[in-house]
């Protein structure tokens, strides 16, 4: 279930998880999440990069037997979303019915609650993706 003292662990990632900030190396490669060494060229000169939050669904599933801690939300859709800048992120989809999801569906990032803990009361928020409103 994870231990109660999770504040620091999650706080560390709030820029990435609330704002979808990733990394960009000196040679222009962008990636998510940010890491100290560019996974494309190996450059160690990496700075923060703000993604637009727009992307499309390239694969998805409906989680019916979730890991403990997520039972309350079941069933929930989880997808690989390719951001318009290129990198792929894994995230839950929201504001969508399972049978509406399709390959190439255009989605945009929103901030949503991901999980609550009973013991310490932390509420985790992060990016999810919803269909782009037409």
């Amino acid at each position: 279930m994870g231990k109660p003292m999770q504040v620091a662990r999650h706080w560390r990632h709030f820029r990435e998880k609330y704002a979808l900030i990733g990394g960009k190396c000196e040679n222009g490669h962008v990636f998510f999440p940010k890491r100290p060494i560019c996974p494309v060229c190996g450059s160690r000169n990496v700075e923060e990069y703000q993604f637009s939050g727009k992307g499309k669904v390239i694969s998805w599933t409906i989680v019916r037997n979730p890991p403990s801690g997520f039972e309350y939300y079941r069933p929930y859709p989880l997808a690989l979303v390719q951001l318009e800048e290129g990198p792929v992120v894994l995230a839950q989809l929201t504001d969508v019915e399972p049978d509406e999801i399709d390959f190439g569906m255009e989605v945009e990032m929103v901030t949503r609650k991901v999980r609550e803990f009973d013991e310490d009361g932390i509420i985790l928020y992060a990016y999810k993706f919803r269909p782009v409103l037409k």
């Binding site: 599933t61 989680v63 890991p67 992060a126």
Partner: protein, 388 residues
């Protein structure tokens, strides 16, 4: 460099062992292997295990198992590479022998999964994924594999039925293996009518939660002769390697190539001096049906995108050109995660000694390959075994 040999194997039947503990299973498998090898002591122990700390609150398995098996004050450690721990432990044992530092090495793979609640077990398995960027978002291990399966079907035009053939084949073989968890044949409809766990993966596309332990004894040819092991009881570990890929599936360049398996297989083939065509049977890591297809492609048995065709056409059966999962695979024998790679090794040894159960012995098997996946393809071991 002189290749090591396996001179003893042991295992316990895979299942839901409510009355038996991790240490009991591990010790039983280990003593079976030592008895099979005709020895009463070993120089060191390598334990393949994925998540004993999570499942049963027990780490330090090296000390636990060596102590309870009465092995004395030897070196003993746990080797962890997620569901690929067993295959990796075999390699660490082999390397110890090849280095000349240790003469006779025991490797035991063990996992006790049924002491945990199913949703907790699902969580522990997801620890093999990236905790911050996958499990954080509620990804189960099945879900990550489901993303791959959906993409595989879409990219190459396969249906759920096409992949279900892998499960049917595994159960057909497992039905004849007394150590398998499911000794029962199934029909395509059984797979197709089973409920979704994470669409499009259904219950029968996935390996079960279970308990098990398997063990092998590894030594040099010279030492084996000294111990009086007859040549036909030796199986050479002719080639082996392992490699990693991105731990986070989303960061992978190509979701449908098991790059780590490709790299490991190329090195292992080279070390053994063989190609995919020379292999008589393959024990691949079919934790999910789609992983069997991707594995056959990564090992060079099928072209990219054609792995599922081999299942549809029956070429993966015992009498086919590329028999796989000869004792039931992960699907039917069962997948006690950290033990799986050692079960595969034991099964390959039995095949090569001609001691496989009736109906699932691959005729005149000379060379077998085992492939053990940790994570969603992030840590993959390939071992090639050959009759001496």
């Amino acid at each position: 460099m002189e290749k090591p040999v396996i001179i003893g194997v042991g295992m316990v039947p895979v299942g839901e062992h409510w009355r038996v503990s991790l240490r009991d299973m591990a010790v039983e498998a280990l003593l079976n292997a030592m008895e099979d090898a005709g020895i009463d002591k070993v120089d060191s122990l390598y334990v393949g295990n994925m998540a004993s700390g999570s499942f049963i609150e027990q780490e330090n398995l090296g000390a636990l198992i060596a102590d309870w098996a009465g092995l004395g004050n030897i070196p003993a450690v746990k080797v962890e590479a997620a569901c690929g721990s067993g295959g990796a432990a075999v390699q660490e044992g082999a390397k110890a022998v090849m280095s000349g530092l240790e003469d006779v090495v025991a490797v035991v793979g063990v996992e006790k999964m049924t002491d945990a609640w199913p949703s907790d077990a699902t969580r522990y398995l997801a620890y093999a994924a990236d905790a911050e960027w996958e499990l954080f978002h509620g990804a189960s291990f099945v879900a990550l594999n489901a993303l791959i399966m959906r993409l595989y079907m879409k990219t190459y035009g396969y249906t759920e039925e096409d992949l279900a053939h892998f499960a049917v084949n595994a159960h057909r073989n497992g039905a004849k293996n007394p150590y398998a968890m499911f000794k029962k044949e199934i029909k395509l409809e059984t797979v197709l009518n089973s409920p979704y766990v994470a669409d499009p993966i259904k219950l029968f596309d996935a390996a079960p939660m279970c308990d098990g332990a398997a063990a092998v004894i590894i030594t040099s040819k010279e030492k084996a002769k000294e111990l009086g092991v007859p040549k036909d009881r030796m199986v050479e570990l002719a080639g082996f390697w392992r490699a990693i890929d991105t731990i986070n599936l989303a960061n992978r360049e190509d979701f449908l190539t098991l790059k780590a398996a490709r790299v490991a297989a190329e090195k292992a083939y080279k070390m053994a001096g063989v190609t995919a065509k020379d292999i008589d049977f393959f024990e691949v890591h079919d934790a999910f049906t789609v992983m069997a297809a991707l594995s056959l492609e990564a090992l060079g048995v099928a072209e990219k995108g054609k792995g599922a065709v081999l299942a549809k056409e029956g070429q993966i059966a015992i009498d086919g050109d590329y028999p796989i999962q000869t004792m039931g695979g992960l699907k039917a024998r069962g997948h006690p995660v950290g033990a799986t790679g050692v079960y595969q090794t034991v099964e390959a040894v039995l095949q090569l000694r001609g001691e496989a159960p009736e109906g699932i012995q691959v005729p005149d098997a000379e060379i077998g390959l085992t492939q053990n996946i940790g994570g969603t393809g992030s840590n993959i071991t390939v071992n090639i075994l050959r009759r001496v």
